[in-house]
């Protein structure tokens, strides 16, 4: 009977097959076994002449549990082929924690290349178990190993390495720079005094490392130490010092207690923005509230295309604050700007647009980008300049719907009384948002001519146009619309009647309420309810006498609404109308009556309400308890 070991043996033989598919299948099947022999087979497959098989074996090895794979792979760190060494290192990193102990056990390997690989891998795995052995490797006889040990300790980032690194900074020349960098990455503030002491070094490489490390540690108290380097004749040193200050600033929510000579570094900072350096972008835009150098605005305009949308908004806000100086520059740059930049610039200009500016913007109404044309339409409207009307009319005939929509809205803001016919054409546009904009514009204009035209539409053949007309008249809301709306109360369509009544209730100033009183008997319950609300809004308590009969309406919800509406008047004198409905057969009516009596402050209703405390309908019982409690407070 074949055992697993027998099968693994067969597979190991197949690894020598000249046939690629046989070797590949063998590797795949070896990956399904946990036995050491199978692991060893996969490790052997890393020497396969085919790259695909080597990578397949590598992937399968990374999924292996236990340290046997790691131990075998560590041997490959000394392989003659650099590709195999690198692959072995890569797999060990992917194996991760399980590889740490075997790696540490071999960290004193006789071969310095293997020691270096082991140190590098331990750094990439970032397991704190490696800290102590790596600290010892800071003293390795081979300088490359010592450097790698310092780098690895920086990657792991454990405070436990600080002491050893501080000694290495002093005594291990080969690893001094890496040790300083590691201290920066670890970020322990107790190392700062040592680092400050190294700022007077003659070695520029060490100085760069020290400046960076101070920046990474991120303490505000370090800034005065860094400031003198901003005046350095060596630009690299100055920029490194500035970058350190940037890191400190970002670590402290942008707070710095010192002024910075940023004019000298404007190019550096704005190049950083152009190169999409997140830290430099964040720092520069954050400082601009305190820094308006003469070229800053121009630099800001130049980097608009290099930042994301959120930063574009920030730039726009900064430009708005910059005021006239920014406006002039924007107008100069606008013709050659990208579409995205144009939109930002126009948004900025919109805040301070005047007639003179508008004249200069008019040519952009012919921009090939619809978004730019749309924005121009908006800016023209915001300007309030009547001279823009003709251009807006052209934009209202634009091929693109949302350009037309914005143009119509802008015509409304300019209160273009003379263009009423033009605005009405917009109501026939094929796109709904254009029609809505035209409607909105007509509402803003709202003149007697507009009212007249909408009133005429009430009698047109198109029911939707009629509905639009009723809605528009309601929103115009001026006294002139009352007459047409009262006529609309007789419309054959109940929804239009309701709409007209609601609008009249909002307008309130209605002298002739007779049509509304007649609507209380409308066949539509929705219309009857709307009439109740409208009459109360218009006539107040005087309407109670008109609506009272609806307390006995055939529809329960009309009765409900009538009770609620009377209750909301809060006048106890109407309590007698409501009291009988505590005996209504419908619980929902009893509840409405209960609440209404409480709103009216009818303390006389308490005994009657108390009879309903134990009602089987919990909602009613709860309403009664609350009502009685409210009334008791009054009594």
């Amino acid at each position: 009977m074949r055992t697993v070991i027998d099968r693994i043996g067969e597979l190991l033989s197949l690894l020598q097959s000249p046939d690629f598919y046989e070797r590949e299948e063998a590797v795949r099947e070896l990956g399904t076994y946990n036995e050491d022999e199978a692991v060893a087979g996969l490790v052997m497959a890393m020497e396969d002449p085919d790259l695909g098989i080597r990578e397949l074996a590598a992937n399968l090895l990374t999924q292996m549990q236990g340290d046997i794979a790691s131990r075998l792979l560590i041997r490959f760190l000394g392989h003659g082929d650099i590709g195999t060494r690198n692959l072995a290192a890569e797999i060990l990193v992917k194996i991760g924690g399980d590889a740490v102990e075997p790696l540490i056990e071999d960290i004193d390997n006789d071969d310095y290349d293997i020691r270096k690989f082991i140190v590098d891998v331990l750094g990439l795995i970032r397991d704190p178990r490696a800290v102590e052995p790596l600290c010892e490797k800071l003293w390795d006889e081979n300088g490359n190993v010592a450097c790698s040990a310092a780098e690895a300790l920086g990657e792991i980032g454990s405070n436990k390495a600080v002491k050893a690194l501080m000694v290495a900074v002093e005594r291990v020349e080969d690893a001094r720079i890496q040790a300083v960098e590691a201290l920066g990455k670890i970020g322990d503030p107790s190392t700062l005094e040592t680092l400050y002491g190294m700022l007077d070094t003659d070695d520029p490489m060490i100085l760069y490392a020290v400046l960076e490390a101070i920046g990474h540690i991120g303490q505000k108290v370090s800034v005065p130490k860094l400031l003198p380097f901003l005046d350095s004749k060596d630009d690299c040193i100055g920029e490194t010092a500035l970058m350190a200050i940037v890191n400190i600033s970002l670590a402290n929510n942008g707070e710095l207690d010192h002024d910075l000579p940023l004019d000298k570094y404007a190019s550096f900072l704005f190049d950083g923005i152009r190169n999409r350096n997140r830290k430099l972008t964040e720092f520069t835009l954050g400082r601009l509230n305190h820094w308006y150098g003469s070229d800053i605005v121009e630099s800001l305009l130049d980097v608009v295309d290099s930042v994301d949308e959120e930063d574009q908004k920030r730039i726009s806000e900064i430009l708005e604050q910059a005021g006239a100086s920014a406006t002039k520059l924007i107008l100069q740059k606008l013709p050659a700007a990208s579409t995205a930049a144009k939109l930002i610039f126009l948004e900025t200009l919109q805040q301070s647009v005047d007639e003179e500016m508008v004249r200069r913007l008019l040519p952009f109404a012919r921009d090939q980008e619809p978004e730019v044309r749309r924005k121009i339409a908006q800016v023209l409207g915001v300007s309030g300049w009547p001279g823009a009307i003709e251009v807006l009319k052209k934009l209202a005939a634009d091929a693109v719907g949302h350009v037309r929509a914005t143009a119509y809205a802008s015509l409304g803001w300019l209160v273009a009384e003379d263009e009423i016919d033009f605005l009405f054409k917009g109501l026939d546009d094929k796109y709904p948002d254009v029609r809505d904009s035209a409607l909105g514009a007509l509402i803003v204009v709202g003149s007697p001519t507009v009212v007249e035209k909408f009133s005429a539409d009430l009698n047109c053949d198109d029911i939707e146009r009629q509905r639009l007309a009723v809605s528009a008249l309601g929103k115009i809301g001026d006294p002139e619309v009352v007459g047409p709306l009262l006529n609309a109360i007789n419309h054959p369509d109940a929804s239009l009647r309701k709409l007209a009544i609601i609008s009249l209730g909002r307008i309130e100033q209605v002298d002739n309420v007779q049509p509304l009183i007649l609507s209380l008997s409308d066949e539509s319950t929705a219309v009857r309810k709307a009439a109740v609300s409208a009459l109360i809004a218009i006539r107040g308590e005087q309407a109670v006498a008109d609506i009272r009969f609806l307390l006995d309406d055939e529809d329960v919800w009309v009765r409900y609404h009538a009770i609620n509406t009377i209750g909301e008047l809060g006048n106890e004198q109407y309590a007698e109308y409501i009291l009988p409905y505590l005996d209504d057969e419908q619980d929902v009516i009893k509840i409405a009556a209960t609440k209404a009596l409480a709103q009216m402050g009818s303390t006389e209703a308490i005994p009657r309400l108390n009879q309903l405390r134990q009602d089987k309908n919990k909602d009613l019982a709860e309403a009664v308890v609350k009502a009685v409690s409210d009334l008791e407070e009054i009594r």
């Binding site: 409207g381 809205a409 509402i443 709202g446 809301g477």
Partner: protein, 116 residues
């Protein structure tokens, strides 16, 4: 419509109570103009007690905005009731007015400009 005035952090706040129509809109325009005459160019309108606005009221608001621009001032609105907000949305006046949900947020937006 009733109007009352107060000031906070250099911003003149006008509280409106009632309906914004032709007569109240005219009164509001006069009030705002008087503020500009007193060189108060940061003006906030609290509309929490304005339940209704009609075309005439809108026209007054647009006039006030134009006046504000002429004086290089700033005008903000807050606490719009749902119907008033609906009217502003339909007419897209939300694109030319700075509207905030609350007075507090509006006043917070009045940061002084800092230059070197």
């Amino acid at each position: 419509m009733d109007m009352s005035m107060r000031e906070r952090d250099g911003v003149a706040i006008v509280d409106l109570d009632g309906r914004l129509d032709l007569s109240s809109g005219t009164a509001l325009k006069e009030r705002v103009k008087s503020l500009f005459d007193q060189e108060k160019t940061s003006i906030h309108l609290n509309l929490s007690r304005v339940e209704f606005i009609n075309s005439s009221g809108l026209g007054s608001m647009v006039s006030i905005m134009k006046e504000t621009r002429l004086h290089k001032g700033r005008l903000t609105l807050s606490d719009l009731a749902s119907y008033v907000q609906e009217i502003f949305d339909i007419t897209q006046l939300t694109n030319i007015f700075e509207i905030f949900p609350t007075e507090k947020e509006a006043l917070n937006s009045y940061h002084p400009v800092v230059t070197n």
